[in-house]
């Protein structure tokens, strides 16, 4: 029988869908009866989604600076 501690300990496998079927069924039974773990799972997934919000592009001047430094530091072909 899964406890909250068991479920949270292996939540990464549950989210990645890599749990063995028997374990997954045990997790699902626990989640059907535990509002706290349902909330934890939802917020765990939301955390992963929010982390991706931090992606941003590289400012063009950074590329220019690297190319300039490279031109200065390496022999031309």
């Amino acid at each position: 029988m899964s406890t909250c501690q068991n479920v949270i300990a292996f939540l990464d496998d549950y989210v990645a869908e890599t749990l063995p079927p028997a374990s997954r069924e045990s997790f699902d039974r626990h989640l059907a009866a535990c509002e706290s773990c349902v909330a934890y799972l939802a917020t765990y997934r939301e955390t992963i989604r929010l982390a991706k919000l931090t992606i941003e592009d590289i400012p063009p001047e950074v590329i220019t600076a690297i190319l300039t430094t490279l031109a200065r530091n390496t022999p031309r072909t």
């Binding site: 406890t3 909250c4 501690q5 068991n6 949270i8 939540l11 990464d12 509002e35 706290s36 773990c37 349902v38 909330a39 934890y40 939802a42 917020t43 765990y44 939301e46 955390t47 992963i48 929010l50 982390a51 991706k52 919000l53 931090t54 992606i55 941003e56 592009d57 590289i58 950074v62 590329i63 600076a65 690297i66 190319l67 430094t69 490279l70 031109a71 530091n73 390496t74 022999p75 031309r76 072909t77």
Partner: protein, 190 residues
């Protein structure tokens, strides 16, 4: 241009190949450097150092490895060199941000759901800044794994190869990072 052609061009000293390399990889490599280093200036310096290392050491690149993995490793090493020279920013004690349990396996503090759409409660830019700042509080070992796995979406095996740790260590650090980040964000979501 595929990786093999890119590597051939770099080995021949072709600046067009290097420009292609920058166009393809620099954004994600700068994002990685930002995870290690406090300041934007340091991150850009590390990226620049790494790119010079790429040019100097391209002959040592073995085609059995993926080019992206090799590039990530060079950036990681450039960042670690910079970090050794600098005072590190404060990191949380991650143990304090992991869930705690009673003897019967229940959580000490039951979890609460977050609002349906956090972006409507908090402006997107403010939310992005909050998430970014929270990630930066994580211990470096966990922060970098979170970045490579969840943000850059690299595989467990590739992340392990970049950081020279076992795949199991990647899994453990990732789960701990996610749990701690969740706790940090939870404080702002209620």
């Amino acid at each position: 241009m595929n990786d093999a052609a890119l590597v051939a061009g770099l080995r021949a000293g072709d600046t067009a190949a290097f420009e292609t390399l920058l166009r393809l990889y620099s954004a994600r490599l700068l994002r990685l450097a930002r995870r290690f280093l406090d300041s934007e200036e340091d991150a850009r310096d590390a990226l620049q150092d790494a790119m010079l290392s790429v040019v100097r050491s391209i002959d040592s690149f073995e085609s059995t490895s993926m080019l992206s993995t090799w590039l990530h490793r060079i950036v990681v090493n450039a960042c670690l060199m910079k970090l050794r020279a600098k005072k590190r920013h404060p990191e949380i004690d991650i143990e304090e941000y992991l869930p705690r349990f009673l003897e019967d396996g229940h959580q000490v503090e039951p979890s609460q759901p977050w609002p349906e759409s956090v972006e409507t409660r908090i402006e997107r830019d403010e939310l992005r800044a909050l998430v970014r700042a929270s990630i930066q509080k994580l211990p470096e070992t966990c922060r970098v794994v979170l970045h490579l796995r969840d943000i850059e979406e690299l595989s467990t095996d590739e992340t392990a190869e970049i950081l020279d740790i076992t795949p199991n260590a990647v899994k453990i650090r990732l789960h701990r990072a996610r749990q701690a980040l969740r706790t940090l964000l939870d404080e702002h979501m209620k």
